[in-house]
Structures are given as structure tokens and as C-alpha cells.
Symmetry: C2
Subunit: 153 residues, 2 copies
DNA sequence: GCCACAATTGAGAATGATTATCAATTTTGC
DNA sequence: GCAAAATTGATAATCATTCTCAATTGTGGC
């Protein structure tokens, strides 16, 4: 089933309503590729004349995360990033601390060992984050960041 | 060299001063074992009649982290946790989402693969966080959390 | 030990991302 | 179409942490 259908199913299962605002937000996310912040989305809407209140966007993002359609990436500081997870599988992130770029990686061996570690400690894993922070190829080469990270001076 | 000595060296190297407040904070941290929040420390001080301003504590913790004597653990929500790193090596954390308990783990294989991943992507690793969130042995068994997580209702 | 001067402290204000409130509006099942 | 329940948006609130700035303290050189 497609993203809109999955969201509709999630909503009705939870006695929630499919509103035009929620539809618009989901469509906007479908159009964006990669990682984005709540403000990125708000800016997109403003540019298109359709204004969405921050509170509403945050609420809808939370619903989409609950529905498993969007993934939220908590950063050590600054705004969280979100990314669509329609038909994608889990992966982790390398974050360039000079330009802000996010590089994805996935490693089955790490995931397996992680599960082993939990088993040994009798820990029931619900979710995990594995973030590598450092300098991307361009930034370590140039010395000059390719672009400013969000929120940099 | 011991912790106090290392901090003194770090401070003088950076034209900073070893004050009585900084000494008191370092001693307090030496006395605590395990993970703690800024508020935990402030409470300790208040109980002992020695009052330290939050701003000062946060500033000193930042210095201790820079000096490599303390490690800061950013949580998805709520206050950051800190832990002394005097003569300890790197490890990662399992965090119980029902009682707040933090269990440490370290795995050389994961660390090695992680380094490989970075090499392949030409990514210069500076630091990383690997957090596993779920339910600890007690909480998954009891159904009832052993204790409330900080900030829970 | 004293001085000059830079660093530190603490009180309080500010920050900033996100969440809570609540009256007005929209959905939806019937 | 109606009523009940959910949603929206404007706005205030939260809350951990950082900033500001005047008063205080530590330090290196004499
Ligand atoms: Mn991603
Ligand atoms: Mn630890
Ligand atoms: Zn970069
Ligand atoms: Zn637990």
C-alpha cells in the first residue's frame, strides 16, 4: 500500500481524521527527498502560499512517526531532522560537523552484534540511534566547509 | 596523573584559572559514581550547604568535557547526563525507557566495523553515539518499572 | 606579599525548539 | 444535515541551557 493509504489506515485505526492539512503535509514530504527539519517544511509551505501553523506541523510529524512513515533524527543540538521512511529500511547516519551533510550507512553485522549485546544483558530493544559525527570527504579535503551547517554563525 | 592534576594542566594550557568552585565541582564528581545530571550535582551542593550557580556548573562541565575528563550523554529529551571518564575507556549505553536506568556496553567489533564504514566513505570520525533504548531486565519482567524515569509524570 | 589585569562567578534575562491551551472550525458516522 | 469528536492556529508556556554584565577572585611578575 502507498504512503497515503498507510497514513489513512493508521488514522482510522486510532479514531483520527484525515484532514486537508494532513494530506498537504504528507504530500509535501513525499516531494522532498532526503532529510529535512520542521522549518524546512514550513518554508516550503510559505513559498507555496499554503500556510501551516508550526504546532500543527509538529503534531502531524509526530503522527507520521507513530505510523512508521517518517523517522525522526534527534540531533545533539538544534532542530530535529526528519526523513520519509516509505518502503525504506532502517539505517544510521554520519553527520558532518562542518557542513551539516548527512550520509547514510547500514551494516547488518553491527545490527546483529547489537542484538546479541541486548540478549546478553536481557535488554528488550525498542529502538536505537547510532550517529557518527566528523568531517565528510569534501570538508576534510578542502578545509573549507562546502556549506554552512544549519544554525552556524 | 590524577584527575585534579589533569584538569589543572588543561586549565593552565588554556590560560584558565583553577578556582575553588571548579575544584569543588571536580571533587563532587569524583565522589559520584555512575551517570548524573547537572541538577543532580546542584542538589548535592545544596544539601552540603555549598551553593553553586547553574550557569557556573554548566560552564565547568563544558570545560571538563573539553578536557576529556567527563563525558556528556545527550538524551533525546530532558537533561543531558554526564559521567566521569577518569581512566575509563569509551563505551556506549543502553537506556531503559521505563525506569531510566543506564547500562553500559562496549564492543570492539562494532567499533572496528564503524571505523571501516567511515574509511569507506572517506569520513573522518570525530565522535559517535550509539544508544540502545528499550526495557531493562527488571522492567520487561515486572511490567512495573522499578523506578520512574526522570521527568516522567 | 602586592598589583594589574584577565578570568570567573552568580543573578537574572534570553534563547530556541517544541508542546500545551483553548476557542473557533472541520470531519465523519449516521 | 447534525451532533459529537477531532483538528487547527494563535498564543502562551516549557525547560534545559546559554548569555549578559557587574562584582569578585586568581595569577604571574615584581
Ligand atoms: Mn537517513
Ligand atoms: Mn557510561
Ligand atoms: Zn561536510
Ligand atoms: Zn528499567
Amino acid at each position: 500500500m502507498n504512503a497515503a493509504g498507510r497514513f489513512a489506515r493508521y488514522l482510522s485505526t486510532n479514531r483520527l481524521k484525515m484532514t486537508r492539512t494532513r494530506r498537504a503535509i504528507l504530500e509535501e514530504i513525499l516531494a522532498i527527498r532526503g532529510h529535512f527539519t520542521a522549518d524546512d517544511l514550513l518554508a516550503h509551505f510559505r513559498r507555496r502560499g499554503r500556510d501551516v501553523a508550526p504546532a500543527t506541523l509538529y503534531r502531524t510529524l509526530a503522527r507520521l512517526v507513530e505510523a512508521g512513515l517518517v523517522h525522526r533524527i534527534d540531533m545533539a543540538k538544534g532542530q530535529a531532522r526528519y526523513e520519509p521512511m516509505f518502503g525504506r529500511h532502517h539505517h544510521d547516519h554520519m553527520i558532518c560537523v562542518s557542513c551539516g551533510k548527512i550520509i547514510e550507512f547500514e551494516n547488518r553485522t553491527i545490527e546483529r552484534i547489537q542484538a546479541d549485546v541486548c540478549r546478553r544483558k536481557r535488554f528488550t530493544l525498542v529502538e536505537h540511534t547510532h550517529q557518527l559525527r566528523g568531517h565528510c570527504a569534501q570538508c576534510s579535503q578542502n578545509g573549507t566547509p562546502a556549506a554552512r551547517p544549519r544554525g552556524a554563525s
